[in-house]
Symmetry: C2
């Protein structure tokens, strides 16, 4: 918690304190109280800006001079690029070279970063990034398996606890999308301290349910292959070592959603909350709407974690 | 200002304090600093909830028992319906019966209000609502030309001033969409007190530039006919008497935008700010993007005033 509070201090004035959105009509349908933590509104369009900013703010002068390197399917890429640019630090990002990533790749380049492509099916992006770090002396900014990254993402949980306390309604349930597990680990850490009775669940897309299965087995299990999914932001191969060590202690379980459920959640987010969500960013909302967990009069917060999607693809998915 | 501060107190815990969104990349393109006041995230999807809530909170017990009646093309309708439902007051709303209004009509009914249709081309909706008020004893909640409504909408301006002061950057320019002029009158009143050097402009769609022309002529002028426009929320016939008496004193002028400029602003709002905006809600952003006013290193806030649009129409406009 101390690390998360320190991260919140570093992020003050840089990251947005994103609002909790609420719709009484939806509450009536769901039989409880739902708040949406609108993290798609965050700088660079996802929560990833928090962790990247927190990590880059702690670079030494020597590390700043050497620049940073990261690997990402897109949201961490934009976050590192923006946080590095604002700190005056050079950034190199290893990103998928396929067309699915083109939108996020273009946005990352526009933020001033150097983008190096890799093949999602055949190459190991982490190894590629590590090789660049060794060759150039740049500091690696990992997407999730790093204490400063987890603490940065944990500020989402701290804000949820503070915002809920301010309206006198601590959450019973919090759901967060999960790829490597950094967001949900940070959120669960904050809530364990601030709302100990709250049950925190990870939410993953079908085919990428490594954290759900790992939680059930109490050991780190990998996904098999790269099945198609709408949720391009949630395609990590396996839980992180650090993140899983936190999540196995703090999570109440892992939920899994289908592409159709994600799509319905994207539509509802647009109609009811006026929020553009990318598929991965709508996963937690999807789990609640699909009743993977029943509200039963309780109060839930779902993290709407990102909104980076090309307008054409978005228009197709919500039409 | 006292009325606006009192309204803010009434709205606390009911209306959302909407965030100011910011993107440094866009600032670089525009040559200044731009904040988007994300009022589409407001309860019922537009700023109108503020005025409706402020008016209904001041009903006497006898007035509450008689219910309220309002006329609206859509956003004021949903706002009055929701504010009335939460206050336990019956609401009747006079709304256009054409297909363009179907989405907003359905949402208003879902909020528990009784909807009465009228013909946008041939009937006077204000007269229809007044007749209902006389017949049933219900209290009229006007869309803009009412001190409590203007004060409620003015809380948008108060929040802008407070949020900008908190980041040490008072705005030089504020742009707000304008139909009858209640929003921009309230915003200008708050800013006159809190940021006296700030220039406030109304923004209207082509064909509905009654406030721009009235400001130039220094007298209330009406629009001619009902030309087609994407901005269904900004189709008032003429400036209000109260609102124009404020706006002629406080506004620096009126800007006008085209449908194509509005559409480009809707796309940018989705891509950069992850915000679903309806055409009228994007008008102020459109004016800045189309350089109807040049930033020239200054700081501007545009009010993104609403996001109520059917997903199919929205998908078509941003694709």
């Amino acid at each position: 918690l101390d690390d998360i509070v320190a991260a919140a201090r570093r992020l003050a004035g840089r990251a947005l304190v994103t609002p909790l959105l609420h719709d009484p009509g939806l509450d009536a349908q769901l039989g409880g109280t739902l708040y949406v933590k609108a993290e798609a509104l965050q700088r660079t369009g996802s929560f990833k800006f928090r962790g990247a900013c927190n990590r880059i703010a702690q670079l030494t002068d020597a590390e700043r001079a050497g620049g940073v390197v990261a690997h990402s399917s897109g949201n961490h890429a934009q976050a590192v690029a923006a946080a590095a640019a604002e700190a005056g630090v050079a950034a190199t990002i290893v990103m998928p070279s396929d067309s699915a990533a083109a939108y996020k790749t273009a946005r990352t380049r526009a933020l001033g970063a150097t983008v190096v492509g890799y093949d999602r099916q055949t190459e190991d992006r982490a190894a590629t990034a590590e090789a660049i770090a060794r060759r150039t002396g740049a500091t690696l900014v990992p997407p999730f398996d790093d204490p400063a990254i987890v603490a940065g993402q944990g500020t989402v949980g701290l804000e949820i606890a503070n915002q809920c306390a301010a309206i006198g309604r601590l959450p019973d349930i919090v759901l967060a999308p999960c790829s490597g597990g950094g967001l949900v680990a940070g959120v669960a850490t904050a809530l364990r301290a601030k709302a100990p009775a709250c049950a925190v669940h990870s939410v993953e897309p079908e085919g990428y349910d490594d954290t759900a299965r790992s939680l059930a087995a109490d050991e780190r299990l990998a996904n098999r292959g790269y099945p198609p999914t709408l949720c391009d932001a949630l395609q990590s191969a396996r839980p992180g070592a650090l993140t899983f060590s936190i999540n196995r202690e703090l999570l109440s379980g892992g939920l899994v959603v289908t592409d159709e459920e994600v799509r319905a959640a994207m539509r509802l987010a647009a109609q009811t909350f006026k929020l553009v969500l990318e598929p991965g960013g709508a996963a937690a909302l999807a789990a609640l709407l699909a009743r993977r967990i029943e509200l039963g009069g309780r109060t839930a917060v779902v993290v709407a974690s990102g909104g980076n999607i090309a307008p054409e693809a978005y228009a197709r998915l919500i039409a």
